[in-house]
C-alpha cells in the first residue's frame, strides 16, 4: 500500500477504517438461517418422491389446456400442493410492509395454480386485494437461472430479452371481459431472499368500486423461448374486514394554493389518499432564486404522532402543480381517531438536485397553515 502524502489523508483513512470496522451484524450470526437454506436445497434437489409429486401436479394442470382455475384443483390436491416447499409465502418477503403484514395475518388467498410448459413450471401462489392494490405472487421452477424477470427492452410494447429460456416477461392482467386493469403504478420484480419468485403489484387501481368484492382476472405471463404465454384465471377477493372509505372533502388554502382531500381509504395493508389541488405551489422565502420548491407532498400523521410518508415520487422540475395526487401510504399501527394531512415541499437547486440537510436527508418545508385534520369515524 503506498505511503499517504499527508496527515489529513492518513487521518481520514483511519477514520474510515475504524468506522467500517465497527459495523456489526444486525444479528449474532446468520449461520442457522444459511445452514437451513442449504439443507433445504439439498433435500429438495435430492428428494425423488417430491419430484414425482411435482411432476404429477404438472400433468394434472396441462390437461387444462394451459389454463387452470381454482376449480381444477381438488381440496386433496390443494393440500398436497401446499405441503410442497415451493409454495411458501412470497409476500412475507416483500419490501411492501402492508403486504407483508397481510401475509402474516393470513389475509391473502393462495390459489396454488401451476402451469407447466416445456419443462418450466409457473405457479400463482398468492393473491391479495384490498380495493387499493392487487398483488400477485408467482413462483417458477425448472429453470437453473436464478433471475426470474428478463430484461425488459421496451416498456411500451413489453418486449423482453429472449436469450435465456425460462425468464419471464411482464405479466399482463386483464378482467374477464378482456379489458386491462387500470392502475396508477406497478412494480414487477424478483423478490429478494426468495429465489425463483416474482411479485406483481398493481397499485392505486382505477375505478376499483366497479370491480366489486370478488372478480376474476386473467393473467398471461410470456416466458422466453416458450411460444405460448402461461395463462391463469384467478379470483381476486376483496378483503372483507377493516376497510374504511372516506370522502372528507376538506382541505386548506394558502395564497393561491388550495387543496382538498377527495378520498381517504384505509385498509389493513395500506392507505390511499386522493388530493385535488389548484393554484401555485407555495414557496418559502428560502425557495427563491437559485432554489425552488418541488411539487407538494402530503404526509399523514395520526393522533398518536405516527407519521406515514407518501410513496409519491417526485418529478425533477420546480414547483410542479399536480391537480390530482393519488398516493399510497403505509398503514398506522392502529386505526387512528384522527389523521392530519401535513403538506410539505422539498427544495431543488438549479441543477435540479434536492437540497440536503447535514444528515444527507432532503430538507422539507412544512406549511403549518395548510394542515387539515380528518376525524376517522
Amino acid at each position: 500500500m503506498e505511503k499517504w502524502q499527508n496527515q489529513t489523508e492518513k487521518q481520514m483513512l483511519e477514520r474510515i477504517r475504524s468506522s467500517v470496522g465497527r459495523v456489526e451484524l444486525p444479528v449474532d450470526s446468520y449461520n442457522e438461517q444459511i445452514m437451513n437454506r442449504i439443507e433445504h436445497l439439498e433435500t429438495r434437489g435430492g428428494n425423488k418422491l417430491l419430484k414425482k409429486t411435482l411432476a404429477a401436479a404438472s400433468i394434472a394442470v396441462v390437461i387444462g389446456l394451459g389454463t387452470i382455475t381454482a376449480g381444477f384443483i381438488s381440496p386433496a390436491w390443494a393440500d398436497t400442493l401446499s405441503q410442497i416447499p415451493v409454495f411458501s409465502s412470497i409476500f412475507k418477503h416483500t419490501e411492501n410492509p402492508g403486504l407483508k403484514l397481510a401475509a402474516e395475518q393470513g389475509l391473502t388467498t393462495s390459489p396454488n395454480m401451476s402451469v407447466t410448459k416445456d419443462g418450466v413450471t409457473l405457479s400463482v401462489t398468492e393473491v391479495f386485494y384490498d380495493g387499493i392494490q392487487l398483488a400477485i405472487g408467482f413462483e417458477r421452477t425448472g429453470v437453473a437461472d436464478e433471475r426470474v424477470l428478463a430484461e425488459i427492452t421496451d416498456f411500451k410494447t413489453h418486449e423482453f430479452d429472449q436469450s435465456t429460456k425460462g425468464l419471464l416477461g411482464l405479466p399482463e392482467v386483464t378482467l374477464a371481459t378482456g379489458e386491462p386493469i387500470g392502475f396508477g403504478s406497478s412494480i414487477t420484480g424478483d423478490v429478494k431472499g426468495q429465489p425463483n419468485t416474482l411479485l406483481l403489484e398493481l397499485r392505486e387501481l382505477h375505478n376499483a368500486s366497479a370491480l366489486g368484492d370478488e372478480f376474476k382476472v386473467n393473467i398471461r405471463v410470456p416466458v422466453a423461448q416458450i411460444a405460448e404465454p402461461f395463462e391463469f384465471e384467478v379470483t381476486a377477493k376483496k378483503l372483507a374486514e377493516g376497510i374504511i372509505n372516506l370522502t372528507p372533502g376538506q382541505g386548506a388554502s394558502k395564497d393561491s394554493f388550495h387543496y382538498k382531500v377527495k378520498s381517504l381509504d384505509i385498509t389493513p395493508a395500506a392507505m390511499r389518499m386522493i388530493i385535488t389541488s389548484e393554484g401555485e405551489v407555495p414557496a418559502s422565502p428560502e425557495q427563491t432564486g437559485e432554489y425552488g420548491p418541488t411539487a407538494v407532498f402530503y404526509e399523514l400523521v395520526d393522533d398518536a404522532g405516527n407519521v406515514a410518508a407518501s410513496k409519491q415520487g417526485y418529478a425533477l422540475m420546480k414547483a410542479v402543480q399536480h391537480p390530482i395526487v393519488d398516493s399510497l401510504y403505509n398503514t398506522f399501527p392502529q386505526t387512528p381517531k384522527t389523521i392530519t394531512v401535513r403538506p410539505y415541499t422539498m427544495t431543488l437547486d438549479n441543477d435540479l438536485k434536492l437540497l440536503l440537510d447535514d444528515n444527507g436527508k432532503p430538507v422539507r418545508t412544512y406549511h403549518k397553515d395548510l394542515e387539515s385534520t380528518i376525524v376517522i369515524p
Partner: protein, 195 residues
Amino acid sequence: MEQGNPGGPMNPNKIEEAIHQVHAGDRQAFSTIIKEYERKIYTYCYYLLRSREEAEDAVQDIFVKVYQQLGRYERRVSFSAWLYKVAYHHCLDQLRRRKRRSRLLSLYKLQLMTNQQALPEESPVDRIFENLTSEERGLLILRVIEQYSFEEISMITGSSSAALRKKYERLRKKLIQQKADEKGGCAHGEVAESN
C-alpha cells in the same frame, strides 16, 4: 492490521480444513466458514448496496452460493478473495435488479423515493460513502480495509489492475476534495448552530 494476509482469517488452516471437510461431505463444517467471514461480507455488501435489509439478504444468498460453488474454488487465489468475488458479483446483480425495478417506475417519469435515502444512524463516514459510487465504495473496502493488492482486486472484480490503480487515484483525489468541502460545510454548520 493483518499485513500480508489481506481479508484473511486469523487461522487460515482452520478454513482450509473446513473446505476440505465440506468437500468430503461434512455439510456442518461450512459453519466455520460462515462464522469466520459473515461480518466482513455483510460489511462489504452493506457499503455496496447502502441498505441494511438488502445486505442482510445478500450475505445469506452469498454463502448459499459459495456452498454450492465450493467445488469451483481453486487454490490459485486466497479463499477470502474468492469469497469477495462471489459477493461482488452478487451485489452487482442486486444493483442491476434495483435499477430495473426503478426503471419500471420511471415510466411515470418519477423517481422512487425509497428508504435508500434514509439510512439510519448516519455517521460522518457514512456521508463520505454516500458521495461515492458503489464501485468506489467497494474499491475502498477492498483496498483500504482489507488491504488487497490491485492484482487481487482485479481478480475479484474482473477489472484490470492498471484500470483499478487509476480508479483508486481518482478516488483518493475525490476523498481529499470531499474532506476540504466538509471543512467548509462544518464551519457553515457551526455558524447556523450558534444562531
